[in-house]
Symmetry: C2
Subunit: 224 residues, 2 copies
Amino acid sequence: MQIIDSSVEIEHSSLDAVIEALRRRICGGALKPGTRLQEFALAEEFGVSRVRIRDALLALQQRGLVDRQKNRSAVVTRLDLKGVFEILELRENLEGLCVRLATENRPPESWQYLVDLFEGPMVRYAEDGNFESYLGEVERFRSDCNAAAANSILDEMLGILRDRTRNIVDRTTMLPGRIQQGVKELQLVVAAMRRGDGAEAERLRRENIRSQRAFVQRYQHFLL
Amino acid sequence: MQIIDSSVEIEHSSLDAVIEALRRRICGGALKPGTRLQEFALAEEFGVSRVRIRDALLALQQRGLVDRQKNRSAVVTRLDLKGVFEILELRENLEGLCVRLATENRPPESWQYLVDLFEGPMVRYAEDGNFESYLGEVERFRSDCNAAAANSILDEMLGILRDRTRNIVDRTTMLPGRIQQGVKELQLVVAAMRRGDGAEAERLRRENIRSQRAFVQRYQHFLL
DNA sequence: GTTCGCAAGCTTGTCAACAATCTTGTAAAT
DNA sequence: ATTTACAAGATTGTTGACAAGCTTGCGAAC
C-alpha cells in the first residue's frame, strides 16, 4: 500500500525535491528494504546530475533511511525487530509528550472535531476496512497535534522516527483486529484531550503505542 | 571553555573525520553561533577538496548545527531561548527515559561507582570550581547510562539534542550555585539507580533537567 | 552627508571527465 | 561439479574547471 502521494515528485529547487521524492518512495514502501540505489540510474530517472543524487543519499543516510559503504551502492535500511522496538520505545515517550503539549496549548473545545472524527467516520473506515482513509486521518491527527504542541524539534524527531518505521507500522493496520482496537484507543485519547486532561491523554497515547508494539511483536514474521 | 578534545582532528576516512572535526569545533565553542563557514578556506585548512567540505556541511545541516541558504556561506546555527527550551523539553523526557532503562537493565550494585563518584570527587570538584573535571565526569555518567539503556536510536537522538545546546548548557555550570545544585540533584538520581528504583531515577533526572532550564531562563542574557 | 547604482572580486553551485573500486561472467584447474 | 583466478564491465569516488549568484567598495548624484 502507498499512503503517501507520490504523483508530484520533482519541482524546482532540486536537491530538496530529490530528497523528498526518495524519502517518499522509501517510506511509502515503493522501495523495499535492501533495495540498491544506484546513482547513475536515479540521476537519469530524475533528470539531474549524479552529484544531486549523491547529496540526497548522504542526507537520507543521516536520517537513517539508507545505509552506505565506500564504493558500494546505497541500500534501503533493513530494520530488525530490536531496531523497531527501540524506535517504538522512543515514540511512546515522544508521541505522548506531543499530545500532552497539544492539549495544554489549546482550549479543550478546539478538539471537538477530533472527537467527531473518531466517533463517526473513523468507525466506518474500520468497519469497511478502508485502511487508506484511516491512515490518512490518523496522519492528520498527528500533524495537528504536532502543530499544537508547537515544538519544532519534537516535530522533526517524530518525523525521523516515523519515517524509519513507516513501512512496518502502517502495515500493522491491516492485521486482524488492529484497526478496530486502534480506533478504540484513539477515541480515548481524543476524549481526554477534549476534557483538557493532558496527563491522561499522554498516558492513553503511550498505551496506544505499546499496543501497536504488541501487534508488531506478535506478527513480526509477517511484518519484517 | 573547551570540553571536547580537539587535538586529533583528521585521520584517514576523510568525510567522517571532517564532519567530526567541525562538529567538535561547533559544540566545543571554538566556532561561535553566526560564524561563517567558507568552503574553500576549510578545504585548504583540512587539506581536502571542497566537495568533502560541502558534504560535511550538508551533514551538519541535517543535524541542525549549521544553517545554509543557496549561494551563501553556511553559518553556525544561532539558537534563541525558545529553541533552547524546546530542546530541553525533549531532553527532559529522553534523559529520564535513559536513566530508567539503564536502571532496569543492570543490577543495582553495578551503580555503586556512581554513588561513590558523586559523594566524593564530584563534591570536591564543585567546591573547587573545577568545572572541567565536573563536566567530564557528568559526560561519563551520561555515556554509561546510554550504554546501559541499550537503545542506539535513543543514544543518537540524545547526541543530536546535546550537540545543539552544548555551548549554552555547559556554561550554566559556571553560574553561581549551579554546580553545587547539580551535584546534589545527580546524587539523588544515582542513589535511586543504586536502589534499583528506575521510576524514581527517571523522575529525579527530569527534575534535574528542569532545574537546568530554570537557570538558563534566569541567566538567558548571559548565556545567549 | 547620505543614498543609490555599478562593477570587481569572492563564494557557492554545477558539470563532465577520470581514477579507484567493486561486481559479474568466463574459463581453467582440481 | 566445485572452486579459484582473472579479466571486462559497471559503479562509486575524486578532481578541476567553469557558471551563477552574492558582497563589498567605490563613486556619482542629490
